[in-house]
């Protein structure tokens, strides 16, 4: 039988055109016995790597192609026969992408002339021939003689015979061969409904009025060679030719043997020698006393492995980027599989001391798996762009590019789009996509549908749900990855097409990080981290105000008072261990060493929580449970974590040691996990894992928990080396908070927005620790928050203009430029700074004229009198005569009648502070209503810990955060703040449902419930909830009758909501 190959295969990477994943198409082609599998998406190769991987698994050859769709509507398949031809094709697509907007590729017939190295073209005839089609085919045949074919299809259109004849005529006339195809858009006919629906989504219509936009039948699926032979009976050559074409296309993605750029080897002969030189140099710097023998061995071992794998240039690249960042004073910290090696420590890529934590290099760079090393580097979030620009400058935009992220349909978007296409009302669609179903992993079941008041037996609804399930995980569009760079030796666009990103001036490549991984292409993640900004700023402040200089590696290690502070959960603002969940864990875990912190960071994460590993670990650590190991084999794996698997590597190791996976299979499992969220499929791994473990004599319950934990890692894979990098930042930030609270608070505020806490909470925490905070003032503040020395050697924190709502950096700059010896009046400020009146009004509202002896209201009245009513600088004053007169203090011209203004009560001041600064240092709003709260027996937050656990208590406070962690099955955690501190409230789902409105909308919340104190962790389990927002609304003047009070409370924090 003839080897048939379906050449025209459109996958779902032709967005909203193809209705099957590349993997499905390849797998089906293999099952049907095709000679090869093929993918040819519309002006894109975004799906080919997935197909490539699937083809390897299915043991079938993959023909890489593209369906070129030209601006005139002419469509032709194009198959590169070799590496050069592939490079030219990529270049062509890049050209088309870069001349058009994001997501569009604009190609013209003439562009094809740039393809010269051996491509095969298969012209795709439209259903309706027009004269220009034969003209275009002729052009193609003339330009590429012997390489041009014409596709014939039998799609059951009723005129297949006559159409076939027409094509035969055309082929004969132009003397080009025909090749049979089925113009495949899905792998099985059952995907027709989905294809119809994505057609509707593409055309923004509903299935009911789509009419002829839809295909008449479901024939464009992958057919078997026998079926194709039958369809084209009598034209056997036409069918067989497809196989011949596939044979001629010898290009494989494996040939993209990664061409890593040559790094200059500096003073050495080879990159390896240079890396070794730099490493030993670094070792001397890191360990001035000389490093011990064990460490020397480690370094030697790692270097040998790097040499064996030929990764030296990669390490040099990372080293170069990091060194450059450091020369600009940008703080950075490596993480990722290879980052926390001794070599990286010596090079300065990481500051995690390898003697402090024992990580095996093999875990990251494994010779047998031939997996590229992965180094992610976090940079200060405000300055990452400088690093990116450096990479572009060093390698050139033609050699460096950012990886793509494939944005896929999640439940919400799939429901919305499918629902619209299925003609469901806006209301029904939003009900379905609403908060009830939440995140994408949720499956829709009949009960949930009924809960929404919808009828699950309604056929349209049932179909919608079915199609939504199919569409979920489909690629929707490509977007740029947060910071994954790939760098090539030759031009990048010969390896992969480049496309425009939404951000102007940004481009990205068509493959995502899994694709790059699969092809073994090295990438460097240049990420941004707010805490690094904060730490660098804190180091700067310490140097300026205390004359001591530190960096990440020189901060004193293992300081007991830092751990004392951490154990008390006194960690507001500290990296990672500041969240409510982390804070409630700290007093129980009581970390005393760096490695304890590593565990703390890894413990409170979806993986261990989902795997129910947290409590067993805690019990063992507290000595309440014996530390034992499920088997001797696992003692090695789990020794450091008291027999409980906490890290991703451990889970993978368990798969190998306990469930009998090969390292390769464990790796596949890890990859399947990475895509689990996208596809919702875990294959048969689960069963194999559980059976394997049970077969080796492990308890089914333990096996189940291990696998659950692996599933949890799919969301946030968290290996030990990541935990170590994060723990270092957690330690350094804790050290800063402990030793230099003023510098830390100031730096943290200057790095906002970041982290878990608002500026208000940070300031409050600082003042609780005895810090002094000074108000924003036109004569003292700068843009950033600053430190002002106090008599006792400590420093007060002066709020900066950045905290004032509506003030921009440029405003602050002009003000500072004019300030010199200070301003003596508002008028002085107005004329010297040239700031517009509305800006001054904003400063006045923020009460920033205190040094001029004016309170908020007086300043406002004065400022409002400056400008015209419109707020613009009045033209009168711009007249030279008047300006002169005003400057000379000739006040007569402007003297106006006085109006007595009522004094502003403290409550109103506080509310205005919140409205303009999002915080108040005058008073806490709750303190102003404390007597009323006392009357109603509400306790202060600080009083809670003195009460007996199990007692019913009432507390009231501003709602800072409401959280509903995915791991807590609907439980809501709310954080309340009053003038004495913070109280944590737990709201069970039942109580929440009964008090939905109060919980979600109250800004000032009263809670009555049971007090729960466990190892100094204090919670109130809510039973009754009261919205007290009205109480605060009255802080201002009493509102006039009928006046809405919403305006007053809206100044208060809304409380960050889960959503």
């Amino acid at each position: 039988m003839t080897a048939y190959v379906e050449l025209a295969v459109t996958s779902n990477f032709s967005f909203l055109q193809g209705a099957s994943h590349p993997e499905e198409l390849v797998k089906t082609a293999a099952e049907l016995g095709h000679g090869a599998a093929c993918i040819a998406d519309r002006n894109s190769v975004a799906g080919v790597v997935r197909a490539h991987v699937a083809a390897k698994q299915a043991h079938i050859k993959l023909v890489v192609g593209v369906r070129l769709v030209l601006s005139g509507g002419f469509e032709t398949l194009c198959f590169p026969q070799n590496r050069t031809a592939y490079g030219q094709l990529c270049k062509l697509l890049s050209t088309g992408n870069l001349r058009a907007a994001k997501g569009v590729c604009e190609l013209h017939m003439a562009d094809l002339r740039n393809l010269s190295a051996g491509h095969i073209f298969v012209a795709m005839p439209p259903y309706e021939f027009r004269d220009d089609f034969s003209g275009n085919v002729q052009w193609l045949a003339d330009a590429f003689p012997g390489q041009t074919y014409l596709a014939v299809t039998r799609l059951y259109r009723g005129n297949d015979e006559s159409r076939l004849e027409g094509l035969f005529d055309l082929a004969a006339r132009l003397n080009i061969p025909l090749v049979a195809s089925n113009d495949v858009h899905y792998h099985t006919p059952s995907r027709r409904p989905l294809q119809d629906v994505i057609t509707c989504i593409r055309h923004h219509c509903t299935i009911f009025n789509a009419g002829f936009l839809l295909n008449a039948n479901a024939e464009r699926y992958l057919k078997s060679p026998t079926e194709m032979a039958r369809l084209f009976k009598g034209y056997d050559a036409v069918v067989g030719r497809s196989g011949e074409i596939a044979t001629q296309c010898r290009f494989s993605l494996d040939e993209l043997a990664y061409e890593y750029p040559d790094e200059p080897s500096g003073n050495s002969a080879t990159p390896q020698a240079e890396l070794e030189r730099l490493t030993w140099l670094g070792a001397k710097r890191r360990f001035p006393g000389g490093c011990d023998e064990k460490l020397k061995q480690t370094i030697k071992h790692e270097l040998a492995l790097i040499e064996q794998m030929n990764y030296a240039p990669y390490f040099l690249t990372v080293d170069d980027i990091v060194r450059h960042a450091r020369s600009l004073g940008i703080l950075c910290q490596g993480r990722g599989s290879a980052a926390n090696s001794a070599v990286c420590y010596c090079l300065g890529i990481t500051s995690v001391d390898p003697t402090q934590i024992d990580l095996l290099f093999e875990r990251f760079v494994s010779a047998e798996r031939d997996e590229p090393p992965d180094i992610d580097v976090d940079f200060e979030h405000e300055r990452r762009e400088e690093v990116i620009q450096y990479i572009y400058t060093k390698y050139g935009r033609h050699r460096a590019g950012i990886a793509a992220t494939v944005i896929t349909y999640r439940s919400r978007s799939a429901v919305r789009e499918v629902g619209k296409a299925m003609g469901l009302s806006l209301d029904m669609v939003s009900a379905m996509s609403g908060s009830v179903w939440g995140r994408s992993s949720a499956k829709f079941n009949a009960d949930q549908v009924r809960e929404l008041g919808l009828d699950p037996t309604d056929p349209t609804l049932a179909q919608t749900l079915k199609l939504v399930r199919q569409l979920m995980g489909f690629p929707r569009h490509l977007s740029q990855h947060v910071g994954g760079f790939i760098i090539t030796r030759g031009p990048l666009d010969h390896v992969i097409p480049i496309a425009n990103a939404a951000m102007p001036g940004r481009t990205f490549i068509e493959w995502d990080k899994n694709d790059l991984d699969a092809l073994g292409i090295l990438k460097i993640d240049v990420l941004s981290l707010g805490m690094l900004t904060c730490i660098r700023k804190a180091f700067g402040l310490i140097e300026r105000h205390y004359g001591k200089s530190y960096d990440l590696a020189t901060v004193p290690k293992e300081a007991p008072r830092v751990y004392d502070m951490i154990c008390k959960a006194d960690t507001v603002g500290v990296f990672q261990i500041e969240s409510r969940a982390q804070m409630s864990m700290l007093p129980r875990l009581r970390p005393r060493t760096f490695y304890d912190l590593v565990i703390e960071v890894a413990l409170v994460r979806p993986g261990p929580i989902q795997g129910d590993m947290v409590h067993p670990y805690l019990k063992r650590r507290q000595g309440l449970e014996k530390v034992d190991f499920p088997s001797e084999a696992l003692r090695d794996v789990l020794g450091k974590t008291l027999g409980i698997p906490l890290f991703q590597e451990q889970a993978m190791k368990i798969a190998i040691v306990a469930a009998g996976f090969t390292p390769g299979e464990a790796d596949q499992l890890r990859r399947a996990m990475a895509t689990f969220k996208r596809t919702g499929q875990i294959g048969d791994f689960r069963e194999r894992f559980l059976k394997g473990m049970q077969g080796n004599g492990y308890a089914p319950d333990f096996a189940e928990r291990c696998f659950k934990q692996i599933e949890g890692f799919s969301d946030y894979g968290f290996p030990e080396s990541h935990a170590a990098s994060f723990a270092l930042l957690a330690y350094v930030s804790s050290w800063l908070k402990c030793c230099y609270p003023d510098a830390f608070a100031c730096a943290l505020l200057n790095a906002q927005p970041m982290g878990f806490y608002s500026a208000s909470s940070i300031i409050r925490d600082f003042r609780d620790h005895g810090g002094q905070v000074l108000p924003v003032d036109v004569n003292s503040s700068t843009w950033d928050h600053t430190l002002e020395p106090l008599k006792d050697g400590a420093h007060a924190l002066r709020l900066g203009f950045r905290q004032v709502k509506g003030i921009h950096k440029a405003d602050s700059t002009s003000l500072l430029a004019a300030r010199a010896g200070g301003f003596d009046s508002i008028r002085d400020l107005y004329f010297r700074s040239h700031l517009p009146a509305p800006t001054l009004e904003r400063l006045a509202r923020a009460d920033a004229f205190g040094s001029l002896g004016m309170d908020r209201r007086d300043a406002l009245w004065a400022v409002q009198g400056l400008g015209a009513a419109s707020g613009a600088r009045s033209s009168l004053e711009d007249l030279p005569l008047y300006a002169n007169a005003l400057l000379q203090g000739n006040e007569d011209l402007q003297r106006e009648q006085e109006i007595a203004l009522p004094t502003m009560p403290l409550g109103e001041h506080v509310i205005e502070d919140y409205a303009t600064l999002k915080l108040s240092i005058k008073a806490h709003p709750v303190s102003l209503v404390r007597d009323r709260l006392d009357a109603r027996r509400f306790l202060c937050a600080s009083a809670l810990s003195h009460q007996a656990s199990g007692k019913m208590v009432s507390i009231a406070g501003l709602v800072l955060v409401r959280q509903r962690p995915g791991t807590a099955s609907g439980v809501i955690f709310a954080t309340l703040e009053d003038e004495t501190g913070i109280a944590n409230v737990i709201i069970w789902p039942k109580v929440f449902e009964a008090n939905r409105k109060t919980v979600l909308t109250a800004r000032f919340l009263g809670v009555t419930g049971m007090l729960q104190i466990e190892q100094s962790v204090v919670h109130v389990i809510a039973r009754e909830l009261t919205d007290l927002s009205d109480q605060l609304a009255q802080l201002g003047d009493l509102p006039a009758p009928g006046q809405k009070v919403a305006g007053v409370t809206s100044a208060l924090p809304k409380g960050r909501n889960f959503q």
Binding site: Y127, E128, F129, Y156, G158, R163, R192, D196, I207, F208, N209, A210, G211, F212, A216, N217, A218, M422, L426, D427, S430, G434, S435, V436, L452, G453, P459, T460, A462, Q463, E841, R845, R856, R857, L860, Q864, G865, A869, S870, E896, Q897, E898, I899, L901, P902, T903, M904, E912, R996, L1000, T1001, P1039, A1040, P1041, G1042, Q1043, A1046, G1047, N1057, Q1059
Partner: protein
């Protein structure tokens, strides 16, 4: 219940009812937030244009109280009741009557009556009671207690005044005006003066849509049916002139005849297109009058005949034919035929076939009422489109329902070589196909979706041509059967 609109960044709440407000929903919230608070929220699309239309309608209705009515978008109506309230028995009675009637429409109103428009607006929007009546001498006192926002100034202005502690209108009354004007604009002073009555404010009264009506009264009652017919002709001509002058056309007319004893009979006719032509009115209404002949009962005679035009709209006059004959072209003649059938049989009973985009043959055309068919269908273009550009043809008429036939054909997708239809055997000499048409799967249960059809164009030995199909595919094990669906000429 909430009304929403799609803005950049998601769906936002534009308006809510009291139930929604009680559940904590707020205007300008995102729908997602609102749903989190109240999952059972009923949501409809916001239609500001429709609101405005309805507000205008309601304003027109208010003309019953005074001719001077204006809309105050988005949700207010201003009525100048100067000199009109005594007709209702005083201001209290008027307000009570208005509130009562509006409640009858399901509308909850807040009513303010005051000496000035500004004061009335202020008390209606910010007064404590749903009905606030400010006596002439009390304007200043009443206003003084209200917030600045009651002055109809920008929120920004009232906010800025609030920040310096000037929160009530009272805080502004009697204060030096220059500093206030310099800071908050002349508009503030202007509004204050208007509310206090120091400055006039005019009202832009709405004009109700024109009412087209001609009538003849007869001191000597009409008795003969022919006289009414003549009267109709006499009324139609001025009606046509009236409409034409204003550039309006009507979709319906009614003739009401008032008998001396108070009995009224009304004859309604409709037209399928806007018209202002007297001859059409006369013919259509005349036919109705004639049809009445059997139960014509003049009693003591008719004293009043009134001709009304309904559903009037601006008509874009079609250009007259070049030869100046009145536009009696083919199309117009056809329209008139339709109108006559429609008025005689009921428009819902006169239908027209229009194309419908469906691959399923019997669903590819639809019969709709002529009044719904606004444009002439382009059948040739549709047919071309139907077959993706190739004109292989379909029967002009299909059988009322496909008839099952017995056929012998090659498996799996060959054309039949022999078939029996209505007990006659046909041997096939030519066949073209198959044209495979898959069922419409949407909106029905999977077991209700019928199998795929393969259509063939067939010619038998005698030269007769048929359109037959096989229902079901062999490869899907669907036990195919054959059907005759249509005949070619």
């Amino acid at each position: 219940m909430a009304l929403v609109t799609l803005v950049s960044g998601g769906t936002r709440i534009m308006a809510i009812n009291t139930d929604a407000a009680r559940s904590g929903i707020m205007v300008d919230q995102s729908l997602a937030d609102a749903r989190a608070i109240c999952p059972t929220l009923n949501v409809q699309d916001h239609d500001p244009a429709g609101d405005l239309r309805d507000l205008e309608k309601l304003a027109c209705w208010c003309i019953r109280y005074s001719p001077w009515v204006a809309t105050d978008a988005p949700d207010g109506i201003i009525i100048d009741i100067t000199g009109a309230s005594h007709l209702m028995g005083g201001e209290d009675k008027l307000a009570e009557d208005l509130r009562h009637r509006l409640a009858g429409f399901g509308l909850k109103a807040r009513i303010g009556i005051a000496k000035t428009m500004g004061a009335a607006w202020a008390v209606s929007h910010f007064g404590a009671a749903p009905v606030s009546i400010v006596k002439d001498g009390d304007t200043t006192t009443a206003l003084a207690r209200l917030p600045i926002a009651a002055l109809r100034v920008w929120t920004d202005t009232s906010d800025r005044l609030g920040q310096v502690g000037l929160k009530n209108i009272g805080a502004l009354i009697g204060k030096p005006r220059a500093p206030l004007a310099a800071r908050y604009g002349e508009a503030l002073i202007h509004r204050l003066d208007q509310a206090l009555g120091h400055r006039d404010e005019s009202l832009a009264a709405i004009a109700p849509p024109p009412d087209y009506r001609t009538s003849s009264a007869f001191p000597e009652p009409l008795l003969l049916q022919e006289q009414i017919q003549e009267c109709l002709i006499d009324l139609a001509a001025p009606m046509a002139r009236l409409l034409e002058e204003k550039g309006y056309g009507a979709r319906g007319f009614s003739l009401s005849i008032y008998r001396v004893d108070g009995d009224v009979r009304t004859f309604f006719v409709r037209t399928s297109a806007l018209t202002h032509r007297a001859d059409i009115m006369v013919r259509l209404i005349g036919e109705k009058l004639a049809a009445m002949a059997d139960d014509y009962d003049p009693g003591c005679g008719f004293e009043l005949v009134v001709l009304n035009a309904h559903d009037t709209e601006i008509i874009t006059a079609r250009q007259q034919e070049l030869d100046h004959r009145p536009g009696m072209g083919e199309r117009s003649a056809f329209d008139m035929l339709i109108d006559r059938y429609g008025n005689r049989l009921g428009f819902e009973n006169v239908g027209r076939f229009v194309p419908y985009e469906s691959h399923i043959p019997e669903r590819s055309e639809r019969l709709i009422s002529v009044t719904d068919a606004q444009t002439t269908p382009n059948w040739p273009e549709f047919t071309r489109h139907l077959q993706q550009g190739h004109m292989s043809g379909r029967p002009i008429a299909l059988l009322p329902r496909p008839e099952q036939i017995a056929a012998i054909a090659e498996v799996p997708d060959g054309a039949p070589v022999l078939f029996d239809w209505r007990r006659v055997s046909h041997r096939v000499v030519k066949a073209e196909g198959p044209e495979r048409i898959a069922p419409e799967w949407w909106g029905r249960r999977s077991q209700e979706v019928e199998p795929t059809r393969d259509y063939f164009r067939i010619e038998d030995m005698d030269g007769y041509r048929f359109w037959i199909f096989r229902l079901g595919l062999y490869e899907r094990l669907e036990k195919p059967s054959w059907y005759m669906h249509g005949l070619f000429p």
